[in-house]
Subunit: 502 residues, 4 copies
């Protein structure tokens, strides 16, 4: 199927910009400058995302992954087969311990940033490709696994960020890709030459796309005969010609601009999504990891979602912050010891640890694929994510209960700077005697930020839809619930001799 | 206690600006112009609130109450004792039918605006004062009821908006008002002369304060000996010298400015709260309806919360919009007929009608106070509000589930106007074939607006804390649950002859 | 359709046994004796149900409806058109007040018995037939309404109990009645003569069947062409030849026999169901109220379920007992004042009053049918029942939480009578100092009775399935949720000019 | 392993009856015969529990632990330090893998029996004593660990069942043991001599007590100065003179007698509890493992509850049966493919696996105590149990929803044997064409058994109260939720420089 000739490699050239490996967060931030990405936000081109105040917190959240790798390598780095220490976000897990460490890293980054740090899609994509390329090669005699490993090794050595791109716009949901009125509603091959392919289409909701160095695109659902040009996986630098990034608006995205640090609630960290449009984008053969193997599209999706649904362990880190914000609000309101508030904090913790439990259990009960990669238990991973679509909403509701209505009626930090009314705001924002009213405002703004503000995007709505909406998990749970086995248990205990024929 | 001499009435003068009665929404809007209120927003004075794009939607939501009274007087108006038709927001209810009509008016206004229309606090305050002034007069021989009725009649004739002001900043919650380090943490009398009193302090979370004509202030909690100067109820024009309004920030409040009509989600309607500061504000004797009767402070609070907790019937109107938004999103996504989506819409409806049920039941089981005013059943009113602190959050969660992640990752309407990317956004925002992608964006922004945007303030957080936080309702339910009576039922059926002595 | 000749009325004769009207509970009990019903329980014929210790509590629960009518006629009786006072269970409601009184009577009987008092199906059947016979007559020129009113008047005058019989066995649920392998899976006409019809089939789950005097049978679902012989409504005395009653077993039904009064938990009251089999049972023309009008079968079902779903107001009376039992258990455990227990009692009350709310609201928002009968609001009645399928389970769970594990591990009352161990049981069942340990045992057995014992049948499972299983209510809510109207609200506020064409 | 010098050992004699080790279930059952236990049930002495039809199913459930050890030793057996294979219920866990295997064994036994198999308390007691005796010895120089290990080794070699006894009657809960009016409300030392001690008191809710060979008693709560005689741990054979067993009544316990196998629902397996009374029962020194070390009483309780709360992994096995019973009921009703039923089965599975998750996670995150024993993570173990106090009730509610009301109205199996009505019952119990109606009855009875019948005791109420009532877990979660750490996360992200002094 594939004609492979890499004597003169167009892929080689794409790696040239990635020279000395990135080590620190500063290295990373520097690596993002001057790349000339085609980025738009609110109808205007963004000359330099790093300098854009709305985009910056999302870059800084990603930078935290480098900081953690430096500060706590036991958590955020791992040893490659050859012994080299690589960033865990670029690491292929080969044991339950690897998956457990991954989830703890995710929780810790959630605790440090209070938002989405945007690297998990890429991490889960490479784990997925490890087994899928291996299995395609075994079945079809292709060379995807070799290509993929070469690609990954380069990425590990350069210590770059790989984003993952999966969700297509999907157009009319009742039709397969090749029957869409607009074929671009799913990313697909529009042209081929001897060096590679050209793809067009779009990917939605791409978290951290403009903050990455490379991206891997993958099909978003089961494909059938007729969909071969849509059964495509490849890697490309985010700077590839023909790629356009249209940043999404988030709740309160402009707070940092129109208000300031206090009004922002969490001024340092945020996620941010982009609609990524591909127009005739070239991918050299060496970076193609699937091309037409329609039967493996559903395998990709199932493996990826299995990894990624457990990756929502991160939300328990955000939950730690949310619980802390509620406790801090209670403290500054002078109400921390009140019984019903303590009880609500206990309930929030209980729900948070329940979510965490299924991530840990799914890693513990993980299995090793033929390629050697370790993968979470499918049932438990889906159970984990299903709880993530529910409990953060309840935790946030309880946080609003504890904080008080002030989180939605509070004056701006700009009012503090006004000579006439600043003293009045301070006077009446005083809670507990002795507390600084501005500290109280800060904590209230953080609670707003996570329950109804910018990071509610990551804490709530992304918890709902990331890695698949709730119904997707229910379908998977339904597939694996083994009703026949369970019915047999019941028939046995009920004294039904043989399974009834019905 | 009060020496009343009204031969020369300072109160008379305060009514002079209110000449011809307000009839239409336009009359109302005109009446707000040029009043010279001292209003601040984000650190700057607001010269004319009517012209402020962030404040305007909250004025327009209030204007809808005049529109409804004109269009559907059977719902939004009622006959005074003397047969004159008055706006229902200024009407004293005297029957279950009155309270039922009130709740239906509230639901209808919620359906029309999708937000808080801000007049219920004032409406519930006048119903409260009808019985409380009557009972104080009966006990102490004061003349509050006569004063209050004269005041109310004037307000009805002028057809103005009366706001209610209750929530004090409260400072250190473990201390009564007179023991606070800062006595202004509760609004109180700071000076008296023969014509009236001067009050200082503040009221928090004042919905629609700058959109009203007059306000009635009331104590916020049970008071004791030593708190007499805090046991004060009075009415004053919102233009009274010494009153300052500091507008709160709401989630996405600036969307209408930085984005536009589409990005705003619901560009026409919103609520908005202010911190209202009182500095030596004069209230003439004729407008004082309580002055030192500490024993009645808790009566005021209980009566008011009973009325006001049932007033959250409005949220079922917002719920109708939220359910409609979810159904519209499903329709434009091409998924309306999908089973699990239909089932979620049913669940949302079930929860919405459950909330409505307790409001209706509380009105049906209402009773008549000695003054002749009708009041909702206390238990059922608290039950209604308790459900309101829970179900809108679940309805909103389900709405996010149905709408999809697009509500938090969607480009700005400004991107639509950009020649380069506008066509790309339209292309990839296409859902169901044949639908207008911009319509889909509008519906998604409305869903954002109500679940995580500006009107989530009114739909969610205000549902939590308005009319008292959840625990306040639980305390009331606990007081009235008649455990002794219920234990007797149990002892009787269990065959325990006499109630055990324990 | 019907040839009616009543010159010599076989119906007349059927009324002969009902001479002097029943007034007291004792009259009622006497009226049940010596009727020679064909009743079986646990494989044996029951000679006299009144003397059967397992059946007796269900008779006594029905008797309580007579006691209430005597003690509190304002609640349990009502005036017929001609001014005569009749039992409310035989009364046609003609106003919201009638329906509200009905629900309060139901709650009160729930409070007095802690179980199902079994008369609501019959009551709701007669209200249903009032409008349906009227409408059939209007459409087809039949005389059903006259017959029905004559029947009802006789029943009212004799003050007897009419049971309602609806649920057929249903066989293969994918097929209509006339396509069933066994036509008897739905009750139907098997023969006709000039005097009347002969029916065969069965009715399941018939609460209180053997405790009634007459029963009305009705179709259980929408019928179509081919099902005419199944579209049959009629009345017959429970003593009619060809009727067999097979009593169902209930959890702990034998406790009163093998243990005794204490072990039974609630020794005086219980419900009990029977499978009622009809074999060629004759119904004279005068007692036929539908015969072949297939189009009205779904009307009967919808009207009946609307009435009957609100009739679950009774469960709030059981809820009062359950809450009382939990509070009594806490009291005797010495833990009544503990915060988390108080909070659970509040939650139980909140849920109980939430159920009650929708019953009251559905009665308040009721409407008058063409025949003059008043009917609850369909949406709110379904909402009421939907909550009834959830909240009693949660209330029971909390009751078990409060009572403690002792409710499932407690010795028998027979152990109390044993000289060796009786004193030990008393010693170690002592809770709160000073309390009688046997009283504590009684209360614990009542809690067992309602959560996992005999009356859990009525409090839990019947709450789930009576008047239709949960999904049936969801279907009705779905039919009436007016998504088009709600979408229009959303499109309007979202700024979508015209409703999108999709 | 241990060198024991027992030249004159009263303990020695107690072991004499335990000769050849028990291997098979039959061995076990034989070992229970002829022991002359003083057992009472329903006021009568039980001569031979093995032959009592009500007690038998609880013995058979315990026997299943021997069957599993034979059939699947990899699951139900483990290697002792010296390499000898011992029953896992007698094994000291020393790794996460040990704890994981334990939980899987528990789930499997739940699947096989559908009830409580009664051995977990003893298993968790020995794990607890391993570390606590070690730590007491380290602190006080006592020899408890040596004694305990000798005892355990004998038990392992004989392969007997050790029960654990913890819950005291507790009397007046506001007073410590030594201030109780009746000192026996907590088990305590009443006399000492040179050979040992004599204890009196009682233990409540003792699952499987009469089915065990030995029991270990432990204090039930934190003790203080004055409570030394209550700070006692010891082992004794269940046959010890002075011990009396009063069996508790369970819901439907007599069904197997008054109905039969079908009516019982699950005729083979059940749990059963006893009130165990101790009157001057002798314990030789060698079997005393704590005597007066009051400071360690709370350690015992905390360690034990940590183990035991995770042991509720068994309920996920019962959950498998419950889900299977619901699916079987749907199948025989002909409704298995109906969407809302499938969705309910998915929800039941989701909840069941969520419970399982926290057990697995608590084992994965377990730690090693100083003595070498492995113990589950305290937080996650409490989270596991907290979910167990909620989810089985919801699973059971959904199972009743799916099964239909027939589970509470169904005739007895004895009706099947009656010539007159047997055919009628069969005819009308027919569901899906082709199914055996008696099979349908069996499955319905199993559903009744687990939701409202005998094994609802184990599946529901024991899930609520076993290993501590829900509030006990909340207290533990509250103690460990690290609010200070979480507040610091929030203060950091909110930009509060230093933690506020309040």
């Amino acid at each position: 199927m594939l004609k492979i000739d890499e004597s003169v490699s167009p892929a080689q050239k794409l790696w040239e910009p990635f020279g000395a490996p990135i080590v620190t967060a500063d290295d990373y931030i520097a690596s993002l400058r001057g790349r000339g990405l085609r980025v738009f936000f609110m109808g205007e081109p963004v000359a330099e995302p790093v300098d854009n105040p709305v985009i910056w917190p999302s870059i800084n959240a990603m930078a935290e992954t480098y900081r953690l790798a430096t500060e706590r390598p036991e958590l955020a780095a791992a040893r490659r087969e050859d012994g080299k220490l690589v960033n865990r976000f670029l690491h292929i897990p080969t044991s339950p311990a690897d998956l457990l460490a991954k989830h703890d890293m995710q929780r810790e980054l959630g605790r440090r940033t209070g938002t989405c740090f945007q690297r998990c899609v890429g991490m889960d994509a490479i784990a997925t490709l490890h087994s899928v390329t291996f299995e395609m090669d075994a079945k079809f005699g292709t060379a995807y696994a070799r290509r993929f490993r070469a690609f990954l090794e380069r990425a590990q050595d350069a210590n770059i960020i790989i984003g993952g791109a999966m969700t297509d716009p999907k157009g009319d949901r009742s039709k397969p890709p090749h029957q869409q009125t607009d074929p671009d509603q799913f990313l697909h091959v529009v042209r081929r030459d001897e060096n590679g392919i050209f793809v067009s289409g779009a990917k939605m909701h791409q978290t951290g796309a403009v903050n990455s160095h490379w991206m891997i695109f993958m099909p978003t659902m089961r494909l059938g005969e007729g969909d071969r040009d849509w059964a495509i996986i490849g890697a490309l630098p985010v700077t590839a010609p023909g790629v356009t990034y249209i940043m999404g608006r988030q709740t309160n995205d402009m707070r940092i601009v129109d208000g300031g640090v206090l009004d922002a609630g969490n001024a340092q960290f945020a996620g941010q999504e982009a609609l990524v449009v591909f127009e005739n984008v070239f991918v050299p053969n060496e970076h193609i990891f699937m091309d037409g193997e329609i039967g493996f599209a559903s395998t990709v999706v199932e493996r990826f979602t299995t990894y990624h649904r457990s990756s929502y362990a991160c939300k328990t880190g955000l939950g730690d912050v949310m619980i802390g914000a509620a406790a801090a609000a209670a403290e500054l309101n002078g109400l921390e010891k009140v019984r019903h508030i303590q009880d609500k904090l206990i309930e929030m913790t209980h729900l948070n640890e329940t979510m965490y439990s299924s991530c840990v259990a799914g890693a513990t009960r993980s299995k090793t694929e033929a390629s050697g990669v370790q993968i979470n238990d499918v049932m438990l991973s889906n159970v984990a994510k299903q709880n993530v679509t529910r409990f953060p909403y309840e935790i946030a509701r309880l946080a609003q209960d504890i904080a008080g209505g002030i989180i939605v009626t509070m004056p701006s930090e700009k009012d503090l700077d006004n000579d006439e009314i600043g003293p009045l705001v301070r006077k009446y924002m005083q809670g507990q005697d002795g507390a600084d009213p501005v500290d109280r405002m800060r904590v209230m703004r953080l609670s707003e930020n996570m329950t109804i503000g910018r990071n509610a995007v990551g804490y709530l709505t992304e918890s709902m839809h990331g890695a698949g909406s709730p119904q997707a998990q229910r379908v998977e749970i339904g597939r694996r619930m083994d009703l026949e086995g369970k019915k047999n248990l019941a028939y046995h205990l009920a004294g039904v001799a043989a399974k009834p024929k019905v």
